[in-house]
């Protein structure tokens, strides 16, 4: 609820005038008191013994430790685990609502086979044996036709035993098409690969940085590991750490920062280069670090920074020269300054040039693999399974190269390019994907350009979802093989986004499975067995739990106890050993990515006259945007400036509203080159004139009646913009038109 001066005053007026009148006469007092005690249909929660179970939240990539309070065998409350290295007792709004998902109406009750048309939501229950033999038959058929490479899997993550078993399954079967869903993880990985020559995740030592320069990162909107970022933010407030937020809209992060620098949407990378140029020109960089550990600064300055004079930067970004110079000086003058990027929660990868430019700022101030800086965190190595042995069919399938093109000549540095899949599938006949598995992901909701996606979807003959929930993807699948939820199953969680130390969390069963589910790990082991060798040979385990415990070895027992294991004394590679590039140093201008380094921004789709405005997304902790949709409690917290009934409100500046003849709450049609939607407008001074900010995370068609049908899905209105140098999706917005409805 927006509380301006007037509604705030109504606090008082309400009290004075008396807004509520008594509907009943006095003398009924006693009778009513007794009467109201006898409502048989108000549930009386059962009592029982209280216990606590420590586990790991899997509702986002945050990796928080959570403790579940149980009464008897019921789970009644989820709280943060005290002492956990990521969240130390804190918990986010989504994590708190996990029990609404566990016991909620969006669960898939048993294996289901589509009964009507796809998406009609008509299902037929079947047994696990039937369901598994259906899949096994399909897969055997495709292998017989020598088409194993037409099987693909879309997965929310690629770390941990379950995604790795899936990848292994595909490899043994003969498909290289294990595709992770896109996020800034892709661009940060690629940045570390290109500039430092390592395969690692980016970790940020946010607790020890003393100046935060954020290029649109939603520190308070869910970027990184949300609870950890909140805690760091509070610490910054206590210790006086400055935060500068560069972003076109006054997000919560911007509002809480010490300085908000509104920038023209999409020009953040240019600003980073502009800052770098000032730092180089004024020799504000850390000379010792630059001389010893980096290479290519001169060439980069000449080739890339050259054109970004403060004047040119001002023109492109809208940030005036003096602000730019002052910012460069205060950033470089801090002891441990940290620059971060990835817009909002980091759901879209972004342009690789932009990431490299921001990362270069950290290098200029020597803040790589140092206290308070960006750390290269190696992927955990506890999964040591024997090599997969392939037969001729599998080997031929693996030879085919990936459908999404990742790793091919054109996209040599990319590992996953899911956004390319719809176009490729749509253009192929028969479809290059003959069977699609979807694991802990909801691409039918999260992928941009929905019209194209829907067309491609129709071409894929067989789609299997492993979801615990009736999400959009599950609803549009042919078969659902429901995984138990994270509160009902074992799984290792070796990743906490942006955390700077290697960490393994363990999710473990808090309650007995509520439905007829089977862990996906077990599904894969059984499918492998059904397919026979060589696939079966790659899966020597009795069941998933055995696989997990043997894989974790000595860690299995302690993990059950504490719920996590952290390498607390981890030191990122220091000195020259840390850089595995051609020069053995940090490279500002890597030979193999010269073009990438120079191209720091992409254009939004659409042309100005027809689409005079710019549409950008706006993220919030109160709206989940990933595989999980908002549970009822979280939907309840969405303010009426975002959702009114089922109508979504988009934010526009009062000036824009005036020009369009719109006022608060008025209905409008929002049109982009990719789609259109009926919305209402909310007038907000915190968005620049000419910009439309659209809340993300709404417009679901599936899950439950508390979420479905509310608002509009931002992904329906946007399309990917391929970053030429990397192939990653770099779309940060799209041109749009808003007109009165």
């Amino acid at each position: 609820m927006k509380m301006d001066r007037r509604s705030f005053l109504s606090f008082v007026i309400g009290g004075a005038a008396g807004t509520a009148l008594s509907p009943l006469p006095w003398k009924l007092t006693d009778d009513l008191a007794i009467w109201s005690q006898n409502w048989p249909w108000t549930p009386v929660p059962e009592r029982g013994e209280v216990s606590f179970v420590k586990t790991t939240c899997m509702l986002c990539p945050g990796g928080c430790g959570v403790t579940v309070r149980k009464v008897g065998d019921r789970a009644v409350k989820i709280e943060g685990t005290k002492g956990h290295p990521v969240n130390d007792g804190g918990i986010c709004i989504l994590g708190l609502s996990g029990l609404q998902l566990l016991y909620g109406p969006a669960r898939v009750p048993s294996p289901l086979r589509r009964a009507g048309e796809r998406g009609q939501n008509r299902w037929e229950k079947l047994s696990w044996d039937e369901a598994l033999s259906l899949v096994a038959e399909r897969l055997a058929g495709l292998r017989e036709k020598k088409l194993p490479h037409t099987v693909a899997c879309i997965s929310g993550t690629d770390t941990g035993t379950v995604p790795r078993l899936m990848e292994r399954f595909l490899a043994a079967y003969g498909s290289p098409n294990f595709i992770r869903t896109p996020s800034m993880r892709d661009s940060y990985e690629m940045t570390l690969h290109l500039m430092q020559g390592v395969q690692a995740s980016a970790g940020f030592d946010v607790e020890h940085a003393d100046f935060i320069l954020s290029f649109g990162s939603g520190i308070l909107e869910g970027w990184g590991s949300p609870v950890r970022m909140f805690r760091a933010h509070s610490k910054w407030k206590e210790t006086g750490v400055k935060v500068v937020q560069i972003e076109p809209r006054l997000s919560n992060t911007a509002a809480k920062s010490d300085k908000w620098i509104p920038v023209n949407p999409g020009s953040e990378g240019i600003l980073a280069l502009g800052l770098a140029r000032v730092i180089v020109e004024e020799s504000l960089y850390r000379k010792a670090f630059i001389d010893t550990y980096t290479s290519g600064l001169e060439a980069w300055t000449r080739e890339v920074l050259g054109r970004w004079t403060p004047e040119n930067v001002e023109q492109a970004t809208g940030v005036d020269k003096s602000t730019l110079v002052a910012l460069a000086r205060s950033f470089a003058g801090a002891r441990r300054p940290l620059a971060i990027c990835g817009r909002g929660r980091g759901d879209t990868p972004g342009s690789i040039g932009e990431f490299m430019a921001v990362h270069a700022l950290n290098a200029l101030v020597g803040n790589i693999n140092r206290k308070g800086g960006v750390w290269a965190v190696p992927d955990p190595d506890y999964i040591q399974w024997p090599e997969v042995e392939t037969d001729a069919v599998a080997a031929a399938g693996l030879q085919q190269g990936r459908i999404d093109g990742a790793g091919s000549k054109k996209y040599i540095h990319a590992r996953h390019l899911l956004h390319r899949l719809p176009e490729i599938v749509d253009a192929s006949d028969p479809s290059v994907v003959q069977a699609l598995f979807v694991l802990e992901a909801n691409p039918y909701y999260t992928l941009p350009d929905r019209d194209l996606l829907k067309k491609a979807w129709k071409k894929i003959p067989f789609i299997v979802s492993f979801s615990s929930f009736m999400d959009e993807t599950a609803r549009n699948a042919d078969l659902i093989l429901p995984n138990p939820m994270y509160l009902e199953r074992y799984e290792d969680v070796p990743y906490a986004r942006g955390f700077n130390k290697p960490l393994i969390g363990l999710a473990k069963p808090v309650t007995a499975p509520q439905f007829n589910t089977l862990p996906t790990g077990d599904v894969l082991i059984r499918l492998a067995r059904a397919l026979g060798d060589p696939v079966a040979g790659a899966f020597p385990w009795e069941n998933y739990e055995q696989c997990l415990s043997e894989t974790l070895q000595d860690m299995w027992e302690p993990l059950q106890e504490t719920g996590y294991q952290v390498a607390s004394d981890f030191e990122p590679g220091s000195g020259s050993g840390a850089f595995d590039t051609a020069s053995g140093k940090f490279e500002f201008n890597p030979e193999k990515a010269r073009e990438a380094a120079a191209h720091v921004s992409v254009q939004a789709r659409g042309e100005a006259p027809g689409y005079p405005l710019i549409l950008i997304p706006s993220d919030s902790m109160r709206r989940a945007t990933g595989y999980i949709g908002d549970p009822p409690f979280v939907v309840k917290t969405v303010p009426e400036t975002v959702l009114k009934g089922n109508d979504l409100l988009v934010e526009i500046n009062p000036e824009t509203a005036k020009a369009l003849g719109l006022s608060e709450g008025k209905r409008a049609v929002l049109k982009t080159p990719k789609g259109q939607a009926r919305v209402r407008v909310h007038l907000f001074h915190g968005v620049a004139p000419g910009v439309v900010a659209m809340p993300t995370g709404l417009g679901h068609q599936a899950y439950d009646a508390y979420l479905a049908g509310k608002g509009v899905n931002f992904n329906d209105l946007i399309a990917a913009v391929e970053d030429g140098a990397s192939g990653l999706n770099a779309a940060w917005g799209i041109r749009a038109k808003l007109s009165r409805a």
Partner: protein
């Protein structure tokens, strides 16, 4: 009055730290068996004991600023326990405890006249227009320490009073008479990922709330810390929820200061 032994539970919320994430709202809903409906966008009938409001300074781009302000029940002490809501209840369904400073709500006594709602200047009270309904199976997560409410009664934030009772029982069994600060915490304070909510006994010099706020007993608990303030201080409701903010426009808005007045001075 034996004010020395009496506890006075209260809260101080740091608005510089509060991120507006809403976790406190949900922690409260989960702890206190608060129901939900298919459409919760009419905020007048949406029950949220803890509600996070957004304030704005109203300035045009790019000088705009916003701030979030979480609003539980203020557990107003009023004038010696005469909280605005308590004074008007004809059924004695709501009461100010001089032992804890907590304003209670006894659902079985409440007959829904809603006088208290009209009297509360903070809109902290909610009326149950409908019986609560949980989707099939979801009632499994209900907390047995808090009874679900029925249609026709008013409800509000209780400072998680059941947690106080549980902590006291435990202390009694263990032969302790006093509660440590950590032994009784509200669900919102415990959950807040930003650590923005500090809860404790305002009378206890060891508790952080006391040390932060420095309440002045001679003036109804008015904060001596100049950075701390209460909502609508000048009404004399003497709330036990305090706020901190480094932004002057926020402090001003909190008490409807006129443009030429300076918050923290006078009255």
């Amino acid at each position: 009055m034996k004010h020395e032994q009496a506890k006075k539970y209260g809260m101080v919320i740091d608005l510089d730290k509060c991120t507006g994430c809403g976790a406190c709202m949900v922690a409260c809903m989960a702890e206190n068996n608060i129901p939900f409906k298919k459409d919760e966008t009419n905020k007048l009938d949406s029950i949220t004991w803890m509600r996070v409001y957004q304030l704005t300074n109203g300035k045009p781009f790019p000088n705009t600023d916003i701030c979030y302000i979480p609003r539980p029940c203020m557990h107003c002490e009023g004038d010696h326990g005469h909280s605005p809501c308590v004074s008007v209840c004809p059924a004695t369904a709501t009461d100010y405890s001089l032992k804890t400073g907590i304003v209670s709500q006894i659902y079985t006594r409440c007959f829904g006249c809603r006088y208290c709602m009209a009297a509360c200047p903070y809109h902290a009270r909610y009326f149950n227009w409908w019986d609560p309904v949980w989707p099939d199976g979801m009632e499994k997560y209900l907390n047995p320490d808090v009874s679900p409410r029925m249609r026709g009664v008013v409800e509000k934030c209780s400072f998680c009073f059941h947690r106080y009772q549980l902590a006291m029982n435990k202390a009694f069994l263990e032969g302790r008479r006093e509660l440590e600060e950590a032994q009784y915490q509200t669900a919102c304070a415990q959950a807040c990922p930003a650590g923005a909510i500090v809860f404790g006994d305002l009378n206890n010099t060891k508790h952080r709330v006391h040390r932060i706020v420095q309440p002045d007993p001679a003036h109804g608990g008015r904060p001596k810390n100049p950075k701390a303030f209460r909502l609508l201080e000048r009404l004399g409701t003497n709330p036990k929820v305090y706020y901190l903010s480094s932004r002057e426009w926020v402090r001003r808005l909190a008490d409807h200061y006129l443009p030429n007045e300076t918050p923290g001075k006078g009255h």
